[in-house]
Protein backbone atom coordinates (compact mmCIF):
# COMPACT_ATOMS: atom_id res chain seq x y z
CA UNK A 1 0.00 0.00 0.00
CA UNK A 2 2.80 2.36 0.77
CA UNK A 3 5.15 1.33 -2.01
CA UNK A 4 5.40 4.14 -4.55
CA UNK A 5 3.16 3.02 -7.46
CA UNK A 6 4.89 2.43 -10.76
CA UNK A 7 2.28 4.33 -12.78
CA UNK A 8 3.57 7.77 -11.82
CA UNK A 9 6.64 9.92 -11.28
CA UNK A 10 8.17 11.51 -8.19
CA UNK A 11 9.77 14.76 -7.16
CA UNK A 12 12.65 15.36 -4.76
CA UNK A 13 10.12 17.16 -2.55
CA UNK A 14 8.04 13.99 -2.17
CA UNK A 15 5.14 14.77 -4.46
CA UNK A 16 3.88 12.16 -6.92
CA UNK A 17 2.84 13.18 -10.41
CA UNK A 18 0.55 11.12 -12.68
CA UNK A 19 0.21 12.13 -16.30
CA UNK A 20 -2.92 11.38 -18.39
CA UNK A 21 -2.61 13.21 -21.69
CA UNK A 22 -2.23 16.85 -20.70
CA UNK A 23 -3.93 16.35 -17.34
CA UNK A 24 -1.51 15.95 -14.43
CA UNK A 25 -2.64 14.77 -10.99
CA UNK A 26 -0.46 15.63 -7.99
CA UNK A 27 -0.34 14.34 -4.42
CA UNK A 28 2.25 13.56 -1.79
CA UNK A 29 3.93 10.24 -1.13
CA UNK A 30 3.31 7.86 1.75
CA UNK A 31 6.78 8.73 3.04
CA UNK A 32 5.94 12.43 3.24
CA UNK A 33 2.57 11.74 4.87
CA UNK A 34 4.20 9.52 7.48
CA UNK A 35 6.83 12.15 8.23
CA UNK A 36 4.14 14.76 8.81
CA UNK A 37 2.06 12.38 10.99
CA UNK A 38 -1.63 13.21 11.49
CA UNK A 39 -2.50 15.74 8.80
CA UNK A 40 -4.94 18.33 10.04
CA UNK A 41 -5.28 20.75 7.15
CA UNK A 42 -4.56 20.92 3.43
CA UNK A 43 -4.71 24.27 1.64
CA UNK A 44 -5.36 23.87 -2.07
CA UNK A 45 -5.89 26.38 -4.87
CA UNK A 46 -9.34 26.82 -6.39
CA UNK A 47 -10.13 25.55 -9.87
CA UNK A 48 -9.01 28.11 -12.40
CA UNK A 49 -5.90 29.13 -10.45
CA UNK A 50 -2.66 29.16 -12.43
CA UNK A 51 0.24 27.21 -10.99
CA UNK A 52 3.89 27.33 -12.00
CA UNK A 53 6.36 24.50 -12.44
CA UNK A 54 8.59 24.21 -9.38
CA UNK A 55 6.57 26.70 -7.34
CA UNK A 56 4.33 26.07 -4.33
CA UNK A 57 0.62 25.54 -4.96
CA UNK A 58 -0.53 25.04 -1.39
CA UNK A 59 0.28 24.09 2.17
CA UNK A 60 -0.13 20.98 4.25
CA UNK A 61 -0.29 21.02 7.99
CA UNK A 62 -0.04 18.42 10.71
CA UNK A 63 0.31 18.52 14.46
CA UNK A 64 4.04 18.19 13.85
CA UNK A 65 4.76 20.66 11.06
CA UNK A 66 3.58 22.80 8.16
CA UNK A 67 4.92 22.08 4.69
CA UNK A 68 4.69 23.47 1.18
CA UNK A 69 3.18 21.57 -1.71
CA UNK A 70 5.10 22.11 -4.94
CA UNK A 71 3.69 21.73 -8.45
CA UNK A 72 5.89 19.88 -10.91
CA UNK A 73 4.18 21.52 -13.87
CA UNK A 74 2.78 24.89 -14.86
CA UNK A 75 -0.79 25.30 -16.01
CA UNK A 76 -4.34 25.78 -14.81
CA UNK A 77 -5.88 23.91 -11.89
CA UNK A 78 -8.82 21.97 -13.27
CA UNK A 79 -9.90 20.43 -9.97
CA UNK A 80 -8.81 20.37 -6.34
CA UNK A 81 -9.74 17.45 -4.09
CA UNK A 82 -12.60 18.87 -2.03
CA UNK A 83 -12.73 15.72 0.15
CA UNK A 84 -9.56 16.89 1.93
CA UNK A 85 -11.37 19.82 3.52
CA UNK A 86 -13.52 17.45 5.57
CA UNK A 87 -11.05 14.57 5.77
CA UNK A 88 -7.43 15.75 5.64
CA UNK A 89 -6.53 12.34 7.07
CA UNK A 90 -7.15 10.79 3.66
CA UNK A 91 -3.64 11.94 2.81
CA UNK A 92 -2.34 9.71 5.60
CA UNK A 93 -4.61 6.74 4.93
CA UNK A 94 -4.61 6.74 1.12
CA UNK A 95 -1.89 9.10 -0.17
CA UNK A 96 -1.81 7.61 -3.68
CA UNK A 97 -5.57 7.27 -4.12
CA UNK A 98 -8.26 9.25 -2.31
CA UNK A 99 -5.60 11.60 -0.91
CA UNK A 100 -4.86 13.16 -4.33
CA UNK A 101 -4.60 16.96 -4.22
CA UNK A 102 -4.90 18.81 -7.54
CA UNK A 103 -5.44 18.11 -11.19
CA UNK A 104 -3.67 20.52 -13.55
CA UNK A 105 -4.06 21.05 -17.28
CA UNK A 106 -0.34 21.30 -18.06
CA UNK A 107 0.79 23.80 -20.66
CA UNK A 108 4.15 22.00 -20.93
CA UNK A 109 4.90 18.41 -19.92
CA UNK A 110 8.66 18.97 -20.30
CA UNK A 111 9.32 19.27 -16.55
CA UNK A 112 8.01 15.71 -16.09
CA UNK A 113 10.93 14.30 -18.08
CA UNK A 114 13.37 15.01 -15.25
CA UNK A 115 11.22 13.46 -12.53
CA UNK A 116 12.14 10.17 -10.86
CA UNK A 117 10.36 6.91 -11.53
CA UNK A 118 9.21 4.74 -8.61
CA UNK A 119 12.48 2.81 -8.39
CA UNK A 120 14.58 5.97 -8.40
CA UNK A 121 12.36 7.54 -5.73
CA UNK A 122 12.70 4.47 -3.53
CA UNK A 123 16.46 4.59 -4.04
CA UNK A 124 16.44 8.24 -2.97
CA UNK A 125 14.57 7.33 0.22
CA UNK A 126 16.94 4.45 0.93
CA UNK A 127 19.89 6.77 0.48
CA UNK A 128 18.69 8.91 3.38
CA UNK A 129 16.83 11.58 1.47
Amino acid sequence: MNTPPADRKYTTTHEWVRVDGDLVTIGITAFAAAELTDITYVELPAAGTRVQAGRPFGEIESVKATGELVSAVGGEVVEANSALAEEPGLVNSDPYGRGWMIRVRAEDLGPCDTLMDAAAYEAMLAGGR
Binding site: T37, E43, E59, E61, V63, K64, T66
Partner: protein, 342 residues
Protein backbone atom coordinates in the same frame (compact mmCIF):
# COMPACT_ATOMS: atom_id res chain seq x y z
CA UNK B 1 12.09 8.13 16.87
CA UNK B 2 13.27 11.67 17.17
CA UNK B 3 16.08 13.50 18.88
CA UNK B 4 15.05 15.40 21.98
CA UNK B 5 17.50 17.12 24.34
CA UNK B 6 20.22 14.59 23.55
CA UNK B 7 17.98 11.52 23.87
CA UNK B 8 16.33 9.33 21.24
CA UNK B 9 12.63 9.25 22.01
CA UNK B 10 9.56 8.06 20.18
CA UNK B 11 7.52 10.90 18.76
CA UNK B 12 4.61 8.52 18.36
CA UNK B 13 3.76 4.82 18.25
CA UNK B 14 0.55 4.66 16.22
CA UNK B 15 -0.54 8.28 15.91
CA UNK B 16 -0.44 11.40 18.06
CA UNK B 17 -4.18 12.08 18.09
CA UNK B 18 -4.99 8.42 18.77
CA UNK B 19 -2.51 8.17 21.67
CA UNK B 20 -3.88 11.44 23.01
CA UNK B 21 -7.49 10.23 22.94
CA UNK B 22 -6.66 6.89 24.48
CA UNK B 23 -4.88 8.61 27.34
CA UNK B 24 -7.90 10.83 27.99
CA UNK B 25 -10.31 7.89 27.80
CA UNK B 26 -8.28 5.02 29.26
CA UNK B 27 -4.59 5.09 30.07
CA UNK B 28 -1.42 6.06 28.25
CA UNK B 29 2.13 5.01 29.08
CA UNK B 30 4.97 7.45 28.46
CA UNK B 31 8.69 6.79 28.79
CA UNK B 32 9.99 9.90 30.55
CA UNK B 33 13.42 8.51 31.41
CA UNK B 34 15.03 11.48 29.71
CA UNK B 35 13.98 13.83 32.52
CA UNK B 36 16.71 14.84 34.95
CA UNK B 37 16.63 13.13 38.35
CA UNK B 38 18.95 14.79 40.85
CA UNK B 39 19.34 13.61 44.43
CA UNK B 40 20.45 15.88 47.25
CA UNK B 41 21.62 14.56 50.62
CA UNK B 42 22.93 16.16 53.77
CA UNK B 43 21.85 18.64 56.42
CA UNK B 44 21.97 21.54 54.01
CA UNK B 45 20.02 19.85 51.21
CA UNK B 46 16.73 21.38 52.33
CA UNK B 47 18.21 24.86 52.85
CA UNK B 48 19.89 24.72 49.42
CA UNK B 49 16.55 23.91 47.82
CA UNK B 50 14.96 26.73 49.82
CA UNK B 51 17.53 29.07 48.29
CA UNK B 52 17.09 28.05 44.66
CA UNK B 53 13.37 27.29 44.55
CA UNK B 54 10.62 29.88 44.31
CA UNK B 55 8.29 27.65 46.31
CA UNK B 56 8.43 27.21 50.07
CA UNK B 57 10.37 24.03 50.79
CA UNK B 58 11.06 24.06 54.53
CA UNK B 59 7.61 22.89 55.51
CA UNK B 60 7.43 20.15 52.88
CA UNK B 61 6.69 16.76 54.45
CA UNK B 62 8.31 13.43 53.74
CA UNK B 63 6.32 11.80 50.97
CA UNK B 64 5.28 15.10 49.44
CA UNK B 65 6.11 16.51 46.00
CA UNK B 66 5.94 20.17 45.03
CA UNK B 67 6.10 21.97 41.71
CA UNK B 68 8.45 24.94 41.72
CA UNK B 69 10.47 27.20 39.48
CA UNK B 70 14.20 27.79 39.75
CA UNK B 71 15.11 31.37 38.85
CA UNK B 72 18.22 33.41 38.29
CA UNK B 73 18.91 36.69 40.10
CA UNK B 74 16.83 38.59 37.55
CA UNK B 75 13.82 36.38 38.16
CA UNK B 76 14.24 34.63 34.81
CA UNK B 77 13.23 30.98 34.82
CA UNK B 78 16.09 28.49 34.66
CA UNK B 79 13.72 25.51 34.86
CA UNK B 80 10.47 24.26 36.29
CA UNK B 81 10.93 21.27 38.53
CA UNK B 82 9.26 18.91 40.95
CA UNK B 83 10.92 18.61 44.33
CA UNK B 84 10.18 15.54 46.44
CA UNK B 85 11.12 14.93 50.05
CA UNK B 86 12.21 11.45 51.10
CA UNK B 87 13.13 10.42 54.64
CA UNK B 88 16.87 10.49 53.90
CA UNK B 89 17.17 12.71 50.82
CA UNK B 90 15.53 15.09 48.35
CA UNK B 91 14.84 14.49 44.69
CA UNK B 92 14.58 17.19 42.05
CA UNK B 93 13.09 16.12 38.73
CA UNK B 94 13.91 18.65 36.04
CA UNK B 95 13.64 19.01 32.27
CA UNK B 96 16.05 16.96 30.20
CA UNK B 97 17.30 20.00 28.30
CA UNK B 98 18.18 21.81 31.52
CA UNK B 99 19.70 18.98 33.50
CA UNK B 100 23.35 19.98 33.16
CA UNK B 101 22.59 23.62 33.75
CA UNK B 102 20.56 22.87 36.87
CA UNK B 103 23.26 20.55 38.17
CA UNK B 104 25.82 23.31 37.71
CA UNK B 105 23.49 25.83 39.39
CA UNK B 106 23.00 23.53 42.39
CA UNK B 107 26.73 22.84 42.64
CA UNK B 108 27.51 26.54 42.50
CA UNK B 109 25.12 27.35 45.33
CA UNK B 110 26.07 24.28 47.32
CA UNK B 111 29.66 25.51 47.70
CA UNK B 112 30.65 25.38 51.35
CA UNK B 113 27.40 23.70 52.39
CA UNK B 114 26.91 20.23 53.80
CA UNK B 115 25.20 18.71 50.84
CA UNK B 116 26.03 16.10 48.23
CA UNK B 117 24.43 16.24 44.82
CA UNK B 118 24.11 13.15 42.65
CA UNK B 119 22.75 12.90 39.14
CA UNK B 120 20.65 9.72 39.10
CA UNK B 121 19.31 10.21 35.60
CA UNK B 122 21.27 7.52 33.81
CA UNK B 123 21.02 4.94 36.59
CA UNK B 124 17.22 5.12 36.70
CA UNK B 125 14.27 4.95 34.35
CA UNK B 126 10.98 6.75 34.67
CA UNK B 127 7.58 6.15 33.12
CA UNK B 128 4.29 8.00 33.39
CA UNK B 129 1.00 6.13 33.44
CA UNK B 130 -1.77 8.65 32.88
CA UNK B 131 -5.53 8.56 32.35
CA UNK B 132 -8.82 7.78 34.12
CA UNK B 133 -7.91 4.06 34.14
CA UNK B 134 -4.31 4.55 35.21
CA UNK B 135 -4.70 3.97 38.92
CA UNK B 136 -7.02 1.01 38.50
CA UNK B 137 -4.69 -0.71 36.03
CA UNK B 138 -1.63 -0.04 38.18
CA UNK B 139 -3.35 -1.45 41.21
CA UNK B 140 -4.29 -4.64 39.37
CA UNK B 141 -1.08 -5.17 37.48
CA UNK B 142 1.88 -3.75 39.41
CA UNK B 143 3.33 -5.12 42.63
CA UNK B 144 3.99 -1.68 44.15
CA UNK B 145 1.39 -0.39 46.61
CA UNK B 146 -0.27 2.33 44.55
CA UNK B 147 -3.63 2.48 46.24
CA UNK B 148 -4.20 5.53 48.44
CA UNK B 149 -1.27 7.64 47.26
CA UNK B 150 -2.54 11.22 47.54
CA UNK B 151 -2.16 13.78 44.75
CA UNK B 152 1.38 15.14 44.68
CA UNK B 153 2.44 12.51 47.19
CA UNK B 154 4.60 9.49 46.64
CA UNK B 155 5.55 6.12 48.10
CA UNK B 156 8.93 4.51 47.97
CA UNK B 157 10.07 1.05 48.96
CA UNK B 158 11.69 -2.19 47.96
CA UNK B 159 10.20 -4.91 45.83
CA UNK B 160 12.25 -8.11 45.64
CA UNK B 161 15.76 -6.75 45.14
CA UNK B 162 15.12 -3.26 43.83
CA UNK B 163 13.74 0.04 45.04
CA UNK B 164 10.96 2.02 43.42
CA UNK B 165 9.23 5.33 43.81
CA UNK B 166 5.65 5.90 42.68
CA UNK B 167 4.38 9.49 42.49
CA UNK B 168 0.78 10.50 41.99
CA UNK B 169 1.42 13.31 39.56
CA UNK B 170 1.65 13.93 35.85
CA UNK B 171 1.82 16.26 32.92
CA UNK B 172 -1.37 15.46 31.05
CA UNK B 173 -4.23 16.92 33.08
CA UNK B 174 -5.38 13.38 33.90
CA UNK B 175 -4.98 11.46 37.15
CA UNK B 176 -2.06 9.07 37.09
CA UNK B 177 1.30 7.94 38.31
CA UNK B 178 4.95 8.51 37.56
CA UNK B 179 7.25 5.65 38.47
CA UNK B 180 11.00 5.57 38.98
CA UNK B 181 12.82 2.23 38.77
CA UNK B 182 16.50 1.33 38.47
CA UNK B 183 17.69 1.42 34.87
CA UNK B 184 19.41 -1.93 35.36
CA UNK B 185 16.15 -3.83 35.86
CA UNK B 186 16.07 -4.87 32.25
CA UNK B 187 13.78 -7.84 31.74
CA UNK B 188 11.83 -7.23 34.93
CA UNK B 189 11.00 -3.67 33.89
CA UNK B 190 9.96 -4.99 30.51
CA UNK B 191 7.70 -7.40 32.39
CA UNK B 192 5.97 -4.57 34.27
CA UNK B 193 5.49 -2.59 31.08
CA UNK B 194 4.23 -5.73 29.36
CA UNK B 195 1.64 -6.19 32.11
CA UNK B 196 0.39 -2.66 31.56
CA UNK B 197 0.24 -3.02 27.79
CA UNK B 198 -1.60 -6.31 28.16
CA UNK B 199 -4.13 -4.52 30.34
CA UNK B 200 -4.88 -2.22 27.43
CA UNK B 201 -2.64 0.73 28.26
CA UNK B 202 -1.63 2.66 25.14
CA UNK B 203 2.04 3.42 24.57
CA UNK B 204 2.27 7.15 23.92
CA UNK B 205 5.10 9.32 22.63
CA UNK B 206 6.35 12.89 22.78
CA UNK B 207 3.78 14.14 20.30
CA UNK B 208 0.83 13.11 22.46
CA UNK B 209 2.65 14.27 25.60
CA UNK B 210 2.77 17.74 24.09
CA UNK B 211 -0.85 17.93 22.93
CA UNK B 212 -2.07 16.60 26.28
CA UNK B 213 -0.14 19.10 28.39
CA UNK B 214 -1.13 21.94 26.08
CA UNK B 215 -4.84 21.13 26.45
CA UNK B 216 -4.28 21.01 30.20
CA UNK B 217 -2.74 24.50 30.08
CA UNK B 218 0.60 23.27 31.42
CA UNK B 219 3.69 25.22 30.43
CA UNK B 220 6.67 23.68 28.65
CA UNK B 221 10.22 24.92 29.19
CA UNK B 222 11.58 26.36 26.00
CA UNK B 223 8.12 27.56 25.02
CA UNK B 224 6.10 29.23 27.82
CA UNK B 225 9.02 29.19 30.25
CA UNK B 226 12.44 30.59 29.40
CA UNK B 227 15.17 32.62 31.06
CA UNK B 228 13.66 35.71 29.45
CA UNK B 229 10.40 35.24 31.33
CA UNK B 230 9.46 35.26 35.04
CA UNK B 231 7.03 32.89 36.82
CA UNK B 232 4.45 35.61 37.48
CA UNK B 233 4.12 36.64 33.84
CA UNK B 234 3.92 32.92 33.03
CA UNK B 235 0.86 32.57 35.22
CA UNK B 236 2.73 30.45 37.76
CA UNK B 237 2.76 32.99 40.57
CA UNK B 238 1.07 30.43 42.77
CA UNK B 239 4.37 28.54 43.09
CA UNK B 240 6.28 31.67 44.10
CA UNK B 241 6.40 32.55 47.79
CA UNK B 242 7.40 36.21 47.88
CA UNK B 243 7.57 36.25 51.69
CA UNK B 244 10.78 34.18 51.68
CA UNK B 245 14.32 34.83 50.59
CA UNK B 246 15.33 32.88 47.47
CA UNK B 247 17.42 33.65 44.40
CA UNK B 248 15.41 36.05 42.26
CA UNK B 249 12.89 37.13 44.91
CA UNK B 250 13.81 40.81 44.67
CA UNK B 251 13.17 40.89 40.95
CA UNK B 252 9.93 38.96 41.37
CA UNK B 253 8.66 41.31 44.05
CA UNK B 254 9.12 44.17 41.57
CA UNK B 255 7.15 42.29 38.92
CA UNK B 256 4.41 41.57 41.44
CA UNK B 257 4.28 45.23 42.56
CA UNK B 258 4.23 46.76 39.10
CA UNK B 259 2.31 44.00 37.44
CA UNK B 260 3.81 42.08 34.54
CA UNK B 261 3.98 43.83 31.16
CA UNK B 262 2.90 40.67 29.36
CA UNK B 263 0.91 37.68 30.55
CA UNK B 264 0.47 34.14 29.32
CA UNK B 265 -3.01 33.45 28.00
CA UNK B 266 -4.91 30.73 26.20
CA UNK B 267 -6.21 31.42 22.71
CA UNK B 268 -8.94 29.68 20.77
CA UNK B 269 -8.48 30.27 17.05
CA UNK B 270 -11.00 30.17 14.23
CA UNK B 271 -10.48 27.53 11.60
CA UNK B 272 -8.26 24.51 11.82
CA UNK B 273 -4.82 25.91 11.09
CA UNK B 274 -2.27 25.45 13.83
CA UNK B 275 -0.49 28.40 15.45
CA UNK B 276 3.23 27.75 15.83
CA UNK B 277 5.71 29.07 18.37
CA UNK B 278 6.71 32.60 17.39
CA UNK B 279 3.52 33.45 15.48
CA UNK B 280 2.67 37.11 15.98
CA UNK B 281 -0.50 38.00 17.90
CA UNK B 282 -2.16 41.26 16.88
CA UNK B 283 -4.86 43.64 17.94
CA UNK B 284 -5.85 44.95 14.55
CA UNK B 285 -2.54 45.68 12.86
CA UNK B 286 -0.57 46.22 16.03
CA UNK B 287 1.62 43.37 17.30
CA UNK B 288 0.69 42.70 20.92
CA UNK B 289 2.19 39.29 21.61
CA UNK B 290 3.62 35.99 20.45
CA UNK B 291 2.47 32.40 20.40
CA UNK B 292 4.51 30.00 22.55
CA UNK B 293 2.75 26.72 21.69
CA UNK B 294 -0.16 25.67 19.50
CA UNK B 295 -1.95 22.62 18.22
CA UNK B 296 -5.22 21.24 16.95
CA UNK B 297 -6.76 19.99 20.18
CA UNK B 298 -7.93 16.40 19.75
CA UNK B 299 -10.33 16.70 22.69
CA UNK B 300 -11.88 20.05 21.81
CA UNK B 301 -11.48 19.59 18.06
CA UNK B 302 -10.28 23.13 17.58
CA UNK B 303 -7.12 25.13 17.13
CA UNK B 304 -5.70 26.25 20.48
CA UNK B 305 -2.57 28.08 21.51
CA UNK B 306 -0.79 29.67 24.43
CA UNK B 307 0.70 33.10 23.94
CA UNK B 308 2.17 36.04 25.79
CA UNK B 309 0.12 39.18 25.20
CA UNK B 310 0.17 42.73 26.58
CA UNK B 311 -1.22 42.50 30.10
CA UNK B 312 -4.15 44.83 29.38
CA UNK B 313 -5.36 42.38 26.72
CA UNK B 314 -4.98 39.29 28.90
CA UNK B 315 -8.70 39.28 29.59
CA UNK B 316 -11.14 36.51 28.69
CA UNK B 317 -13.05 37.09 25.42
CA UNK B 318 -10.59 39.69 24.09
CA UNK B 319 -10.65 39.43 20.30
CA UNK B 320 -7.21 39.22 18.73
CA UNK B 321 -5.61 37.87 15.55
CA UNK B 322 -2.78 35.42 15.01
CA UNK B 323 -0.60 35.57 11.89
CA UNK B 324 -0.87 32.13 10.35
CA UNK B 325 0.77 31.48 7.02
CA UNK B 326 0.99 35.22 6.49
CA UNK B 327 -2.73 35.73 7.08
CA UNK B 328 -4.43 37.06 10.22
CA UNK B 329 -6.65 34.43 11.89
CA UNK B 330 -9.20 35.58 14.47
CA UNK B 331 -8.58 34.28 17.97
CA UNK B 332 -10.10 34.95 21.35
CA UNK B 333 -8.54 34.89 24.78
CA UNK B 334 -9.81 32.04 26.96
CA UNK B 335 -9.02 30.91 30.46
CA UNK B 336 -6.50 28.17 30.99
CA UNK B 337 -6.73 25.25 31.09
CA UNK B 338 -8.53 24.46 27.85
CA UNK B 339 -9.44 21.05 29.26
CA UNK B 340 -10.19 19.95 32.79
CA UNK B 341 -10.78 16.35 33.71
CA UNK B 342 -14.05 15.49 35.37
Amino acid sequence: MTEFAGWQLPLLYTGIAEEHRRTREGAGLFDISHMGRIELRGDDAGPLLQRVCTRRIDDQQVGQSRYSHVCNEQGGILDDVIVSRYADRWLMVCNAANRLRILAWLEEHAAGRRVTIQDRTESTMMVALQGPQALAVAERRLPMPVRDIGRYRFVTGEYLFFSYTVFRSGYTGEDGLEIILPASLGAMAAGFLGELLEAGVTPAGLGARDTLRLEAGMPLYGHELTEAVDPISAGQGWCVDLTRDFIGVQALRRVADQGPARRLVGLELEGRRIARQGAVVRLGERPVGQVTSGTLSPTLDRSIAMAYVDAALAVEETALCVDLGGRPTPAKVVRLPFYRRK
